[in-house]
Symmetry: none
Subunit: 300 residues, 2 copies
C-alpha cells in the first residue's frame, strides 16, 4: 500500500541522501549532535538526539537486549548493552532547506555576557532586530492552525489575552521528566520582555494561570513542579513563554537568560515601565551580529 508507506519511504530517503556531513557541535553529556550537510544540493541541518530511557520499557529492555561484559572490579561490572531498535530510538530533526542562519545557530560558539541598558536597547538592539526582520511565518502558521494543529495541547483563542500551548520540538512527549512546552501569545506586537508594560499583565497572568491548569489537566503535573519563564534575548521576537519541569535542566534555563514569569509579573506590578529602563544581561554567541553592534558602540 504505497499511500500508507509514503511518508516513511520519503523520510527514509531524506537521510540516505544526506551528503558531506560536517559536525557543527555536539554534547557528550546530552548525547546530541548537530550536523550540517547537503540534501539534493541544498543546505540541510540534521539534529540527532538519543531519547531518555523510559521506565515502562525496562522489563522488555532487560529481557530482549544483549549484554557484553567490558570490565569487572569487585562488585562493579561494566557492560555494553545492545537494545532492540524500537526501544532505543534517536530523535531526529531535519531542517531543509536550511539557511546560513540555521547553520550558524548550531555551530559551537563561545558566549559573551552583554550588558544592555534601556538606551542600548533603543539605539543598538531594536534597530538590529528590525533590520534583521526574521520571518515569523512558522509562528503564524501555528497560531492560524496551518501547521502543528494536532500538537496543540491547549488554546485560549482570545486575540488579546489568548495563546496556544504546545510541546517544544525538543520534547518527544514520551515522559514528563523533561516536559517542555511553549505558550505562544496570539497577540503579535510584543517582540520580547523589552516591549512588556503593565498593560500586558492580564495577558501574562492569563498565560501563567491557564498554562499551569492545562499542564495539570494533561500531564498531571502541579505548578510546584514547573519552571515558567521567558528568554531574553529570545530566539524569535514574538512573545512566548517556556514551561519546563522543575529538576529538568532544560537548555536555556540558566539565570543568565531565563526570567521567571512570576518575577516578570512582580516587576511590572512594581514598575509599569520596568523593562524599558532595566539594565539587562544576556549571553550572545561570538558570531551573533548583535554582538558586533555592541562592540562597534563601545559597549563591550
Amino acid at each position: 500500500p504505497a499511500d500508507r508507506d509514503g511518508p516513511e519511504s520519503e523520510s527514509e530517503n531524506i537521510l540516505a541522501g544526506f551528503k558531506t556531513p560536517n559536525v557543527l557541535s555536539d554534547s557528550a553529556r546530552e548525547k546530541i549532535i548537530f550536523i550540517h550537510g547537503k540534501i539534493a544540493d541544498q543546505d540541510a541541518v540534521v539534529i540527532l538526539e538519543k531519547t531518555p530511557i523510559r521506565e515502562d520499557t525496562l522489563p522488555e529492555l532487560f529481557s530482549c537486549s544483549s549484554l557484553r561484559l567490558e570490565t569487572r572490579n569487585d562488585i562493579y561490572g561494566s557492560y555494553r548493552l545492545q537494545a532492540p531498535p524500537h526501544l532505543n530510538e534517536i530523535k531526529t530533526t531535519v531542517i531543509y532547506p536550511a539557511t546560513e542562519k540555521h547553520v550558524k545557530k548550531y555551530q559551537r560558539q563561545e558566549n559573551f555576557l552583554v550588558e544592555e541598558t534601556g538606551e542600548d536597547y533603543e539605539s543598538i538592539t531594536l534597530p538590529y532586530i528590525q533590520q534583521q526582520s526574521l520571518s515569523l511565518q512558522w509562528v503564524y502558521n501555528i497560531l492560524d492552525k496551518k501547521a502543528e494543529a494536532d500538537r496543540v495541547v491547549y488554546e485560549d483563542p482570545d486575540p488579546k489575552l489568548g495563546f496556544v500551548l504546545l510541546p517544544d520540538l525538543k520534547w518527544n512527549q514520551k515522559q514528563v521528566d523533561d516536559l517542555y512546552l511553549i505558550a505562544v501569545a496570539h497577540q503579535r506586537d510584543v517582540r520580547s520582555l523589552r516591549d512588556l508594560t503593565s498593560e500586558h499583565l492580564p495577558l501574562l497572568q492569563n498565560i501563567f494561570q491557564k498554562g499551569k491548569e492545562a499542564i495539570l489537566q494533561r500531564y498531571n503535573l502541579p505548578s510546584s513542579k514547573l519552571r515558567v519563564y521567558l528568554h531574553y534575548q529570545p530566539s524569535y521576537y514574538h512573545l512566548h513563554v517556556h514551561f519546563t519541569k522543575l529538576g529538568y535542566e532544560a537548555p536555556g534555563c540558566g539565570v543568565e537568560r531565563a526570567h521567571l514569569l512570576s518575577d516578570v509579573i512582580q516587576n511590572l506590578q512594581a514598575n509599569p515601565q520596568f523593562y524599558k529602563t532595566r539594565t539587562m544581561y544576556f549571553p550572545l554567541r561570538a558570531d551573533d551580529g548583535l554582538l558586533d553592534r555592541f562592540r562597534e558602540a563601545g559597549r563591550m
Copy 2:
C-alpha cells in the same frame, strides 16, 4: 566453545534475572537512569546510560537506519530514527551485591517549587533557620585562615566590605571551562538575600568588582565570560557569591535558584527594602524540613 561464551552468557543472565526494578533517579537530559532491584535475592543497582553519538558512525547510521516522520512544519521535519543496535549501545553498570549506601546514593529526591512572601520568610523560614542553627564553623575557619588558607585566590581583609575568594570544592582547577569560585564575605551578619538592604550595596559592589578583577588576573577570564550570582535558598546562611564560567552549566545556576548579583544590586538601588517584601520562588527537596513547615502552614 563454552569457555569463550562464558562472560557473555553470564552477563546476559545478569539483567534477565534483575527483578523488581525500581527507578532511583534518572536524567532525561543526560539519558541516564539509576535502578534498584534484586538479583538472586540480593540488592543490585543498575545504571543505564545512552552513549554519545560518534561522528565516525554517522555514514553507517544514516544509511542503515529506518526513519519515521513524526511531524512537519515548513522547513522543519521531526522523525524517529531506529538505528542498528551496534551503533546505538547503552553503557550499563551493575553494582551487585549493592549496599544500602549505594541505593541511597542514587535515590533522587523530588523538588518542589516554594513560593515565599516576605511574611512567609518571617513566620516560616527564619524561625526554621534559627532553630536549625547549623554550624558555620567551617566558614569561619576559612575567614580566619584556620583552614583552606592555601586555596585562597584573593582576599580583601576589610571586615565590613572584604571577602575571601577561593575555588569551590566542585572545581578541580584543571581547566577554566568549568571555573567555579566562591566569594565569602567577612561580614558575619548577612544570612541570605533576605537580609540585604541598600546599606549592603558597597559590600556587594566591592565583591563584584574585586572578584572579577581577581579572576581576570589569575585565570585571564574577563567579566564578559562570568556568571556571578547568589543562591536563594543558599546551602549555608552566611553571605557568599558564586562566580562560574558563562557557558558552563554549573549545578544551581538555573533561574529557579540563582540571582544575578548585578540584578540584586539594581533591585536594592531601586528599592532599599526589595528583599524584605519580594515574593521569592525556590526549589526544596522532598526531604527538606523547611518544606514540611511550608506544608504545615498551608503554603503548599
